[in-house]
């Protein structure tokens, strides 16, 4: 495949019919959370889109994000994007290794300087550059070097977007997010642990289709996927509104599918598309499977005070504090009360009899 080919040409060369292409566009629109009426425009845009060069850097990560994407890779429509982008460097997926791999990266940077897309997964250690290196180059240096020539950066997964689990307290490696280090490039955060696969591919397709980054929220997340909370789109929401809650994982409420808020669900403060897009090809999502949302697409989700504790709950034992406080208050109250009584007794003692001769003011 030549890099100069348009996407439409590339697909047709693979023997994909126009019908197939339209179906791809319909699925793409759905994936990008765009209305179906946009399909013709998407088709027209994709037809002419050119395959961009993509460099994928993996730092302190678990490969879960790549797994998420490739789990549904080859046979799916979204998998097709790997045929239509030029993934020039991805050290998990690429065939080349060692010096050849690094050379591929350098070549890609050189040939597409200012135009390539940089995808990052994993957080970057800053406490000691030696904590994570690739081919002897520290993550920080590599990120800065590759970011320099990138048109835009996609931070895939909560680690790259917000620091994620490596950044969790006490953060021994000094892990930071991409946006902590790179300030002069457009960054799209696609958080999640891992992110929903179609969200990753949807963001890439958006860039491919429109040649621009999608509309982002205050945390640089595409609004199309992160615009509404899990809670707002949750099918169990009516139970929350009615005040019907599961109190345990096996109680009557759980069996009846009631709201999991009391089991620590972070749905109300978590912005992601799980409740509509769902996982495993639209099969289900955690709440549908009876487990509260962990809030994995939010910053510091690991440090939120416990997965099974709602966000508004006290983190420490307040009941014991209350008992001590009442005890201390009572003791202080009795002490102060005794002082008051002494003062009053003193006043009573100091009382001089008031007679009819004492009513006028003297001097």
């Amino acid at each position: 495949m030549s890099k100069d080919e348009t996407l439409g040409e590339a697909l047709r060369q693979q023997g994909i019919s126009r019908r197939g292409f339209l179906k791809f566009c319909a699925a793409t629109a759905s994936m990008m959370a765009l209305p179906p009426s946009m399909v013709p425009a998407i088709a027209a845009a994709l037809e002419k889109a050119r395959r961009p060069s993509v460099i994928w850097l993996s730092f302190q990560e678990c490969t879960g994000c790549t797994e998420s994407l490739t789990r549904s890779h080859s046979p799916t429509v979204e998998g097709l994007i790997f045929d239509v982008i030029s993934l020039d460097y991805h050290h998990t997926l690429q065939a080349a290794s060692g010096t050849a791999a690094e050379a591929a990266r350098e070549t890609a940077i050189e040939e597409n300087y200012g135009k390539y897309l940089l995808i990052v997964d994993g957080s970057i250690p800053t406490a000691n550059p030696g904590y994570s290196t690739i081919a002897g180059v520290s993550n920080v240096d590599m990120l800065k070097e590759v970011a320099k020539g990138a048109a835009a950066i996609v931070a895939v997964g909560s680690c790259a977007a917000f620091g994620g689990i490596p950044h969790a307290h006490p953060n021994p490696t000094g892990a930071v997010s991409v946006s902590d280090l790179v300030k002069d490039k457009p960054i799209i955060n696609v958080p999640g642990c891992p992110p929903i696969p179609v969200v990753i591919s949807g963001v890439l397709l958006h860039y491919l289709t429109f040649g621009a980054i999608p509309e982002l929220d205050s945390l640089s997340r595409p609004k199309a996927y992160y615009g509404q909370s899990i809670h707002d789109r949750c099918y169990r929401r009516p139970f929350y509104d009615k005040g019907l809650f599961a109190e345990g994982f096996d109680d009557e409420g759980a069996k009846k599918g009631w709201c999991l808020y009391k089991l620590g669900c972070k749905g109300p403060t978590t912005y992601n598309a799980c409740a509509t897009t769902k996982w495993n090809a639209g099969t289900s999502f955690p709440i549908e499977s009876g487990h509260p949302c962990l809030g994995c697409s939010e910053p510091d989700f690991w440090d939120g005070g416990g997965f099974y504790k709602a966000l508004s709950m006290p983190t420490e034992d307040i009941s014991r504090t209350a008992v001590y406080a009442i005890g201390a208050g009572a003791a202080a109250g009795v002490a102060l009360g005794a002082l008051n009584r002494a003062k009053k007794a003193k006043a009573t003692k100091a009382h001089e009899k008031v007679t009819i001769n004492d009513l006028e003011k003297g001097n």
Binding site: R19, A26, P35, P75, T76, Y235, R237, G282, T283
Partner: protein
Amino acid sequence: MPCVTDTASLPAGAGENLTHNVQPLLHEIRHALAKLLEDGDGTVIDLRSLPLAPGEEQKLLDELDQGEVTAQIQALGPTEIIETRYPGVWVVVHFNNDNEVVGKFIEVCHIPALLCSQQEDIREGLERLSHHLLEATT
């Protein structure tokens, strides 16, 4: 044969009609049908962009039921197209090669665009046929 409906992970009836989105959807379809009759404009509803409780989607599909036409397309995996018992209302489900659902739509139109042979494909088909005939004669 792929299954059109999601499998509900909850006991039957548990979440039924939970979001109360089925009825509004049917009304939306009714409006779309009226518009189709009036000025010929079609409507497409993406079922995967709506919050539906387990069982609700099935309920909607049960409401719509099956009509006269059932069609299958094989392009980048199968696509199933069913005309419901309301002519002009179609259910279109796209699968990938692994029979996983990649898109699910309700189309209100005379015929889903995808069923029509496409200009490019016809042109290519014509070329192929001409080529074939040419080969046969030579």
